[in-house]
């Protein structure tokens, strides 16, 4: 039995009168792609925001590899090895693709500003380290040629990829992807899925929120389904596709039960 990378117990979030997530528990194992699906407004992004510390949960506990995230701030949770992308792209528009990635790796260089002022050689060495890592990742995601381009001038698909690359910069153990395939055309989507699988096979576990069922059903190890903030099903893609409640609430007729 493999260990948990992400364990959520009794997670609840209430905004004033609205319960966005209600008593959600899930156990994501190491070496898995765990997807969270559900209709719009079912609390998927809220869950991600609680995992990454953007929102504090009303109740419940989150553990990343047995470390509780309670009382930890967003950047401290990221330092536990959690990388993420956003549903609405959050890039540094005034900067180049390379610089965007280098900021993602900021924590790899540990020299303080005050020391950096006097230690010319050391700060140059750290700068090179960040640049090398960023160039490696750009090459990895197949965007080496855009290194010097300002990200605001890049097409949407490439911008999404840059954000994904930025999340890889600090050697994450767990990567949380919020709708990576949204807004991509079929060829871009295929490219993105290939990269996600490649990173997974290199040892990074993936927590995925996605609306595109082709993507979800093809790559997930386990799927959790949310509806109105409540978990209604959990299992392998096959089990989920056959689950009456899920079909009714979310999948619709397209995913008909498979005869076994």
């Amino acid at each position: 039995m493999s260990e948990s990378i992400l364990k959520i117990e009794g997670l609840t979030k209430r905004f004033a009168g609205l319960t966005a997530v209600n008593n959600l528990s899930l156990d994501m194992k190491e070496r898995s792609i765990h997807s969270l699906i559900g209709p719009n407004g079912s609390g998927k992004t809220t869950t991600i925001n609680m995992i990454t510390g953007v929102f504090k949960q009303t109740e419940g506990e989150i553990h990343i590899q047995d470390v509780s995230t309670e009382s930890k701030k967003t950047f401290q949770i990221a330092r536990l090895g959690v990388g993420r992308t956003f549903q609405n792209l959050k890039l540094y528009d005034s900067m180049s693709a390379l610089e965007n990635l280098m900021i993602g790796g900021h924590e790899l260089a540990t020299m303080s500003l005050w020391r950096g002022i006097f230690d010319l050689k050391g700060s140059r060495r750290e700068e090179k380290l960040l640049k090398d890592r960023a160039e490696y990742i750009l090459n990895y995601i197949g965007l080496s040629e855009t290194a010097q381009e300002k990200v605001k001038n890049l097409p949407y698909g490439k911008r999404k990829m840059i954000e994904f690359g930025r999340a890889l910069m600090c050697f994450p153990k767990l990567l949380i992807l919020d709708e990576p395939a949204a807004g991509l055309n079929p060829s871009e989507r295929k490219q993105f899925v290939d990269i996600i699988l490649k990173t997974f096979h290199e040892g990074i576990d993936i927590f995925l929120v996605e609306h595109n069922m082709d993507v979800v059903m093809n790559i997930s190890t386990t799927i959790t389904v949310l509806n109105f903030g409540v978990k209604i099903a959990e299992g392998t893609p096959k089990e989920i596709q056959n689950n009456e409640q899920v079909i009714k609430a979310y999948l619709g007729d397209r995913f008909k039960p498979i005869d076994v």
């Binding site: 950047f75 959050k90 600090c170």
Partner: protein
């Protein structure tokens, strides 16, 4: 290859510029001009600091006058009332700047935009009111007089020319340092906070600490600039440190070009020297200066430095953004 050549051109340009600045007082011996230049150098120091917090990090700081007053009065008091050498006074100003940054940085963790502006204005005004009313310590509206000139190990910088060379040295060192910080991972992360603060945190970067760092750089340079001002004028009084002064520094940063050292130098020089050059217009000189500044702001929204960096949006103000086939109401 092109990149390498450009670097050589840049180095030659910088060396020539420094040489011209070194030779200038020998060619033009008018001491009034030297005083104006000294004032410009002081302003460059302060604007370099403001650039970190407002230019790069995007936190609107309108309390520069208060910060400068802190530096000016602390150094002046240490060297007049306590009788320490002026260099000790300058060091005290730097330490005070460091502490001030830690304290003043805290509001910026919770406040944004106009609320942060109001807080920093409040700080500046409170500082001014304290130095106006604490007469036993600061001399009140009479100000502090007979502030000693800087002396370097017994050699007193008693003329504006001598002060000029010393300040020029300080400014050159600070410009290179600031430029290195801007190009380092710290400069990048400051800009990143301005661009998208959520993403910065998601990358494991302590935004609170980084913002305080940017504030501290601003206050250290602001206080150092204040102290340099005090020892240059040999006199300080509270009426110097009004909101006008803070707004002036902001204008210097914006007109020159946000985020770059050359921009800071150009902006500070323009706002300090141009009004003096326009004095022949007598009553109208400030009006004409304001019009010129306004035109620069309209036609070069990225600052004068954008003329050289190719980043300019010349006349963008007048061009409608509508492209063919798009609705202008978008």
């Amino acid at each position: 290859m092109k990149h390498k050549n450009w670097n050589i051109v840049k180095r030659i340009g910088i060396t020539l510029f420094i040489l011209i600045l070194c030779i200038f007082p020998l060619v033009d011996t008018n001491s009034y001009h030297h005083i104006i230049l000294n004032q410009t150098l002081v302003n460059v120091v302060v604007v370099l600091g403001l650039n970190f917090i407002t230019g790069l990090t995007g936190q609107m700081n309108l309390g520069t006058a208060g910060i400068m007053a802190f530096g000016a009065y602390s150094s002046a008091l240490v060297s007049t009332k306590l009788g320490f050498p002026v260099l000790v006074g300058l060091l005290v100003a730097i330490v005070i700047g460091y502490l001030l940054g830690r304290v003043l940085g805290f509001p910026s963790l919770r406040l944004k935009g106009v609320y942060l502006s109001l807080t920093t204005i409040g700080f500046s005004e409170i500082t001014r009111l304290i130095i106006t009313n604490w007469t036993t310590l600061t001399g009140g509206t009479m100000g502090l007089q007979n502030i000693p000139s800087i002396s370097l190990f017994g050699y007193v910088l008693d003329s504006s020319t001598k002060v000029y060379y010393f300040y020029l040295f300080i400014v050159i060192v600070l410009c290179f340092t600031a430029s290195r910080i801007i190009k380092s991972k710290w400069g990048r992360v400051f800009k990143a906070i301005r661009d998208n603060i959520d993403a910065v945190e998601a990358s494991g970067i302590d935004v609170a600490k980084t913002k305080i760092l940017a504030f501290t750089l601003a206050t250290i340079l602001g206080c150092l600039g204040g102290a340099m001002y005090a020892h240059m004028m040999n006199y300080v009084n509270p009426t110097t440190f009004t909101q006008d002064l803070s707004a002036n520094f902001l204008a210097m940063m914006m007109l020159g070009g946000i985020g770059t050292v050359p921009g800071n130098i150009i902006g500070s020089s323009m706002v300090t020297i141009l009004p003096e050059l326009l004095r022949f217009l007598e009553n109208y000189y400030w009006l004409i200066f304001s019009i010129i500044a306004l035109l620069f702001a309209i036609f070069l929204p990225n600052g004068i430095v954008s003329l050289f960096t190719g980043d300019r949006r010349l006349g963008r103000f007048w061009i409608t953004k509508t492209k063919k086939g798009e609705s202008s109401h978008e």
